[in-house]
């Protein structure tokens, strides 16, 4: 067990974020069953350590490309949970102005460069962003997150190769939650140890326990630093588990209750609590205060989302082309 190098405030902040994400997601699930949220809705429940552990390692100029399972990613990067929830509810006040929904969160200010819906399709974008960073001789890092199922698609192969050939500052993070919908990595990948696939691109790679915030955090921080210093790509696999279905529509018949229970015993939030309590950083009282603050935050977000207006259908064509926008502004 490595010693915690972060200061108390930081550690508490991680806890706060993880709880916030958990509560946010559970509330989103509720809103989904109440039909305030529609379409696909993929939750981060169970994966909070991979979310907070990776993204907290980034500097203020670094940028993130991620996939459709990204509510937590937005929150961890600093997006207002209210704007996230509003997006999930398709409101004009949402992070993507109600156009993107759950799968397509974008927050320029917090350098969240989008959640994407075509599996693996965003990896090339991350490589391009890193290319722009190199082109301008900047020291920023691009973090690109994706599921283990994405490592089987061609775009993964091409993107990793290009990142290495061009020497680009990307940290590829594979969030291995054991399932791609109903399929396991063992069934789908010739090399089920995902991090080992990086051998084909000569990218240094490692695996970390994705249920352990501190392990994820340590590895991410180190790798982000390496990427920044060398300007070269790195690869991190974080093993975790989604406690809920693939999306809200999933009956989950492809896995046993037993398996789910076993993973739930390693709940990443409980692990953090235990550790922080042991280290005297968290006590039941502080925890209660933090938890109810998070609850209130989610409450506020929900209220904001529900009360916000839908986009006006008169603005259906807004944002299609940049020129139109300018025209609109000029008028």
């Amino acid at each position: 067990m490595q010693t915690l190098t972060e200061n108390k405030e930081q550690l508490i902040e991680y806890y706060r974020q993880m709880v916030l994400i958990r509560l946010f997601e559970e509330r989103a699930a509720q809103l989904y069953t109440q039909a305030h949220i529609g379409g696909y809705c993929h939750l981060n429940v169970g994966e909070e350590a991979t979310v907070v552990g990776t993204l907290s390692a980034l500097g203020p100029e670094d940028i993130v490309f991620t996939y459709y399972r990204e509510h937590g990613h937005a929150i961890a990067l600093g997006s207002d949970p209210a704007a996230v929830m509003a997006e999930l509810c398709g409101k004009q006040t949402g992070l993507s102005k109600g156009r993107g929904g759950s799968m397509h969160l974008f927050d320029l200010e917090n350098r969240l460069y989008g959640g994407y819906g075509i599996v693996g399709g965003h990896l090339p974008l991350a490589v391009g962003a890193a290319l722009a960073i190199q082109y301008r001789n900047e020291k920023r890092v691009v973090m690109c997150l994706f599921g283990e199922g994405a490592t089987n698609i061609g775009a993964f192969h091409e993107a990793l190769n290009l990142a290495k050939v061009y020497h680009l500052p990307v940290l590829f993070v594979c969030v291995n939650n054991q399932y791609a919908m109903g399929s396991t990595i063992k069934e789908d990948s010739a090399v089920p140890e995902v991090w080992m696939k990086a051998c084909a691109y000569d990218i240094p790679a490692e695996r970390v326990d994705g249920m352990d915030l501190f392990a994820v955090r340590e590895a991410s921080e180190r790798l982000v630093r390496e990427v920044r210093e060398t300007g070269e790509p790195r690869f991190l696999e974080a093993d975790t588990y989604r406690f809920r279905g693939h999306s809200m529509a999933d009956a989950g018949r492809y896995r046993t209750q037993d398996e789910v229970r076993q993973w739930q015993e390693r709940d990443p939030i409980q692990t953090v609590v235990r550790r922080l309590e042991e280290d005297g950083i968290l006590d039941p009282d502080l925890r209660k205060r933090l938890d109810s603050a998070a609850e209130e935050e989610v409450e506020r977000a929900t209220r904001f989302a529900l009360e916000s207006p839908h986009p006006d259908t008169g603005h259906l064509s807004d944002y299609l082309y940049t020129e139109d926008e300018e025209t609109t502004i000029a008028n």
Binding site: Y116, G117, G120, N152, G154, L320
Partner: protein, 324 residues
């Protein structure tokens, strides 16, 4: 005749054809254990086992190409894509291999495969998951493209698709899976290249395919209230196109419009209009109009999505213009 959902009709066609022909097999993501992203393959793994129902990784290019390769050796693969949107990562296999292999090799080999996938919007699945691109495939010589709107057609056309000796792009629609209709039992196959008059009428032809047919039927019912007798032509087969039935309908009604869920510019309706221009010009009492989706990526917010999709109102209003 038993009443079944569109989904059940598809499932039945798959099951029956797999019983009939041991060379038919299914390949796709989560078609087995998960029973299909939209449950079309429900029960098939249990019935036929993993040799005939093959779960595959997220590798649409490899899956599709593997279908083509297996078909070249005489098997009859049915490749499932979770949605038509994902065909874009494998379109090269469909267009440059499946469609061209027979021709460019001088007829030495056929590619008897089916690509099944749902298109369409209305489920708040947003920009990357709500497209209608079937006419891209219908543009390509060497492919056949069908798009059933009703459960019976779904069964009958899927059977023909599986028995066809050439590659067939078989378009389903997310919003149709739960719709119900009478479906003939047993060996019911519908030949390709036949449009179907889903409702007879004398004043205007509403020409549509896939889910738009159901909208057209609703619009026709509304128009009836105004005393307008609208004929609903279900294109059903986009390639080959049944020009005869479509033209005959318009020669009778003298007025027409097209309805499609997708973007109209360079869309399905454009081809139908061009066809009518060519073969029914002298019969037209008014210009043929097109109704389709609004020309934006599909937005998420429900009111925007609704506004982006063609509605029964849109069709009725457009029909009135054509009739004016």
């Amino acid at each position: 005749m038993p009443t079944k959902t569109y989904r059940e009709a598809l499932n039945e066609a798959l099951r029956e054809e797999m019983h009939r022909d041991p060379d038919v097999f299914i390949i796709g993501q989560d078609v087995g254990k998960f029973e299909g992203a939209y449950r079309v393959t429900q029960g098939l793994l249990a019935e036929f086992g993993p040799r005939r129902v093959k779960d595959a990784p997220i590798s649409e290019t490899a899956i599709t190409g593997a279908g083509v390769g297996a078909a070249m050796l005489g098997l009859r693969p049915v490749v499932e894509f979770m949605t038509i949107n994902f065909t874009l990562v494998a379109i090269d296999q469909i267009v440059n291999n499946a469609a061209k292999i027979r021709y460019m090799f001088g007829g030495q080999v056929s590619v008897p495969m089916v690509i099944r996938t749902p298109g369409g919007g209305g489920q708040q699945l947003t920009a990357q998951h709500s497209q209608n691109l079937e006419h891209w495939y219908a543009h390509v010589p060497g492919l056949k493209v069908v798009a059933p709107s009703m459960p019976a057609d779904a069964k009958g056309l899927l059977k023909s698709a599986i028995r066809d000796n050439d590659p067939v792009f078989f378009l389903e629609n997310l919003a149709l899976y739960n719709t119900k209709g009478d479906v003939p039992d047993g060996d019911y196959a519908i030949p390709f290249g036949k449009a179907d008059i889903k409702r007879e009428g004398t004043d205007i032809s509403l020409i549509a395919h896939s889910r738009s047919v159901t909208l057209a039927l609703q619009a026709a019912a509304r128009l009836q209230e105004d005393g307008v007798s609208a004929e609903v032509v279900d294109i059903r087969s986009l390639r080959p196109l049944d020009t005869e039935t479509i033209v005959a309908s318009v020669q009778k009604t003298n007025r027409a419009m097209t309805i499609e869920e997708g973007w109209p510019t360079f869309g399905v309706g454009s081809e139908i209009v061009a066809l009518l221009m060519d073969q029914a010009f002298d019969y037209l009492d008014a210009p043929v109009k097109r109704v389709g989706g609004k020309e934006v990526p599909m937005p998420y917010a429900k009111p925007l999505e609704r506004a982006a999709m063609p509605s029964v109102d849109d069709i009725v209003n457009c029909a009135r213009e054509v009739l004016a």
